[in-house]
């Protein structure tokens, strides 16, 4: 572990854990976050109030509000806002000049919200903007995101299906996670197989596992699953898994000695 790594890890972790009371790290976010805190109960009762309350915090990205609103209307219609309200409030901003800023500069008319995850900069976009954003990400010389590390789905149950694109630039050495949320029933998003050929099999796999339709894909047929398995998607959370016997670790005492000594 290099000192740099360590510093980064501790830094991001610290932000994750105690963003509301760490004014030294992100003063601007913190001020509005704590100001937002009393509003949380209000957000619970009204879904659309939650992104609105968050808007002043993202002063420079004022266009953000309609995007967040439409997400909550389409994808999280019956989601419990209590679940993601703190997440939205506490999420640390990516460092200035990061890929998120480059993306925003390249696409001024596209609504996107960015935050610093534990290991990567994450940018959330609307499903309708996927083609535009991905094409720009690949073609714009300032971004030059020419390499797809992976593309996968995540099932957030009531909050919708998420498609995650992990893009990297071999020349500029930067990377970004781009995410978009789709509704649980009839999830559809434009294919990026024409932008990066690597997306071809990743999208087929994601269709197999989550039932997401990638429109415009040249050959969207089952890859890992049998050809006749049309309506069952194993990695969705509602897909059953045979009961697994619980590990006896559950019965062990919570405060034990160090694992290495005991073993």
């Amino acid at each position: 572990m290099t000192p740099e790594d360590e510093e980064k890890r501790q830094g991001t972790d610290g932000e994750e854990a105690k963003a509301p009371d760490a004014p030294a790290e992100v003063p601007a976010t913190d001020a509005s976050a704590s100001a937002d805190a009393p509003e949380k109960p209000a957000a619970v009762t009204d879904t659309s109030a939650e992104p609105a309350g968050e808007a002043p915090e993202k002063a420079e990205a004022a266009a953000d509000t309609p995007a967040a609103e439409s997400t909550s209307e389409t994808a999280k219609a019956d989601a419990s806002p209590a679940g993601d309200a703190p997440e939205d409030d506490n999420r640390p901003k990516p460092p200035a000049g990061s890929v998120a800023d480059l993306l925003a500069a390249a696409l001024p008319d596209v609504t996107m919200s960015a935050y610093q995850g534990m290991t990567n900069v994450v940018v959330e976009i609307e499903p309708g903007d996927v083609t535009q954003v991905m094409t720009a990400a690949k073609e714009q010389p300032s971004l030059d995101l020419d390499y797809v590390r992976y593309l996968c789905g995540v099932d957030h149950e009531a909050e919708g299906l998420e498609v995650v694109y992990h893009l990297m630039s071999l020349s500029k050495r930067h990377e970004v996670l781009i995410k978009t949320r789709l509704p649980q029933d009839d999830p559809k998003v434009a294919s990026v197989a024409q932008v990066w050929r690597a997306a071809d099999w990743h999208e087929r796999e994601t269709r197999d596992m989550f039932g997401i339709t990638f429109e415009g894909h040249p050959h969207l047929v089952p890859l890992l699953m049998p050809e006749d398995m049309e309506d069952q998607f194993p990695l969705r959370k509602d897909s059953p898994l045979a009961d697994i016997e619980e590990w006896q670790g559950d019965q062990l005492p919570e405060e034990g000695v160090g694992g290495s000594k005991k073993r």
Partner: protein, 366 residues
């Protein structure tokens, strides 16, 4: 003259497919006009199963993906959990991990070199040579972990137990053998007329295409892209060692072979340096919780495996289990480019190209 395209089914039980893999070749005479790869015969749902396992239990599933480079997979997974829980790995454990990973790379590449000879019609000599050298390293792994295939030796935080007392000496004894064995294979294959004719200019992939297809590891480097996660996205303690990154020029099957030969030499260099620097000390942090519980976060951690970038994308929503665990397997991504590489080549070359990708079907299907 009028010709008719014929469909030829190859696999899933075909000796040259390196496992349960099927491809349907559309051929016109001896030329391959189209290829449709069929995978999924070994899909065991490792990602789904990991969602039901706590963080230590899922280690075993990492061995069962790329079962020729198990330590790298375990390292990628353990690094993800360590980042999530903010665990500091002791120095000694890091060094032992690097030594085992690089030995694993050597063993895996010996397997490739042996099988490569067979794929090119060199019959069994290279295979027995390759297997002999792999066996020396396999013995060390068995002595350290007690297992020959599914090691489950790395833990979040470090290692399950320390290496045997004679470990350093055992590795030092084996390295000259590996070096000699590599030289034997090098002399047998590199200048060989059969190998040369069968592999030069076959399955060519340009650097631009290789990047677009998301190739990684020896395939990407053979195409002329100097990219190695150990150097370019440094993890563990790889910044403490001196080693070179071999890069090809033509992006053909022959270059992929040459890159792997050189990678074995470089891995031997890394192991030697790591043995010299190996410190004493604990192999696990002092205080490890019995039950690992992570905060709400998402993590991506990747290592340079024997076949390329093996990555773990872990989404945690708290609790002792991953909410979602995505395995970015190098074989899957590399194999997706098979169609592009094979079209226009001869049928016999399809075998050479598939061999040069060095797939492990457990890693493709997961």
């Amino acid at each position: 003259m009028e010709t008719v395209d014929i469909n030829v089914n190859m696999g899933p039980q075909h000796p040259s497919t390196h496992g349960v893999f099927r491809m349907v070749l559309t051929i016109d005479g001896e030329r391959v006009m189209d290829v449709e790869p069929h995978i999924g015969y070994m899909h065991r749902g490792a990602e789904k199963l990991s969602e039901e396992m706590d963080y230590r239990q899922a280690i075993g599933y990492q061995d069962r993906t790329d079962y020729l480079a198990q330590f790298m997979n375990e390292q990628a997974y353990c690094m993800a959990v360590e980042k999530l829980l903010d665990i500091e790995v002791p120095e000694r454990a890091e060094y032992i991990r690097v030594i085992l990973c690089e030995l694993n790379r050597i063993a895996s590449h010996f397997m490739f070199l042996g099988a490569f000879g067979i794929d090119l019609g060199h019959f069994g000599t290279s295979f027995t040579y390759g297997f002999r050298e792999r066996e020396h390293i396999q013995d060390i792994f068995e002595e350290v972990t007690g297992e020959r295939l599914m090691y489950s030796y790395f833990r979040p935080g470090g290692l399950v137990w320390d290496v045997p007392d004679n470990f350093v000496q055992r590795v030092r004894d084996v390295l000259p053998k590996s070096r000699q064995g590599l030289q034997d294979l090098d002399m047998l294959l590199t200048g060989n007329e059969i190998v040369s004719v069968r592999s030069r200019g076959v399955g060519v992939m340009s650097a631009e295409d290789a990047v677009s297809w998301g190739l990684s590891g020896p395939l990407l480097r053979a195409a002329g892209v100097e990219w190695d996660l150990r150097r370019d996205k440094p993890y563990s303690i790889y910044d403490r060692f001196q080693y070179d990154i071999p890069v090809g020029t033509h992006g053909d099957v022959y270059d992929r072979y040459l890159v792997r030969v050189e990678e074995v030499r470089q891995s031997i260099r890394i192991v030697e340096q790591a043995l010299d620097q190996l410190p004493d000390g604990p192999i696990m942090p002092e205080k490890m919780p019995r039950k690992l519980r992570g905060p709400e976060a998402e993590i991506y951690s990747a290592v340079e495996g024997a076949r390329g970038e093996y990555g773990i994308y872990l989404v945690s929503k708290g609790g002792d289990k991953p909410y979602r665990l995505k395995m970015r397997s190098p074989s899957f991504c590399n194999l997706s480019a098979l169609r592009d590489m094979t079209i226009g080549n001869y049928v016999a070359d399809a075998v050479a190209i598939l061999g040069s990708i060095d797939i492990v079907l457990g890693c493709v299907d997961r």
